[in-house]
Subunit: 101 residues, 2 copies
């Protein structure tokens, strides 16, 4: 996005858009739904369930991480992924406000 420094957009709009973008793919929706329901999971579990290459899954997980919605901690040789509770809560609030629900 180029768009002038002093944007017209509120901080909230930009944050909500960022989260929405991260949610904007079935694979990432699937992961988020799973992780928000149970505590955590291993990348391998997801890989077994999803019809995509491991490397592709890694990319999606990275996007969710970059957006701040999940976090991964190494539990060698595996990686345990969990929801990032703080940001998840923020996303909940933002969408609650935005959607007025």
């Amino acid at each position: 996005m180029i768009m002038a420094e002093e944007t017209v957009f509120t901080e909230k709009q930009q944050k909500a858009a960022r989260y929405a973008k991260a949610m904007g793919h079935p694979v990432r929706m699937y992961v988020l739904e799973l992780l928000s329901n149970q505590s955590c999971c291993y990348s391998g579990n997801l890989s077994d369930e999803l019809p995509i290459a491991k490397s592709t899954l890694s990319q999606h997980l990275k996007e969710l991480k970059d957006a701040g919605l999940i976090q991964g901690e190494i539990e060698a040789p595996r990686v345990k992924y969990c929801i990032n509770r703080a940001n998840w809560k923020e996303a909940q609030l933002l969408f609650k406000e935005f959607l007025k629900i």
Copy 2:
């Protein structure tokens, strides 16, 4: 997306992802917020407020229309855009469920 015919994803996940994707840009977030608050608006109003070319705005509006979140009716020579109430409600429900709020 290629991914096998019989996807692992639920209808809800796919729909929610579709809506989320449409919301995943500040301009579109801005438009949605405006339209969900007031009844309707004209493309020109948006164009005045937003730091993007008219043609770019048109593209964003088309995306929101294609996702089903807004609808435009011609009121020549202008176009009046409104929220698509039915689908907006569906999106509210989907996100409510997804985010558990």
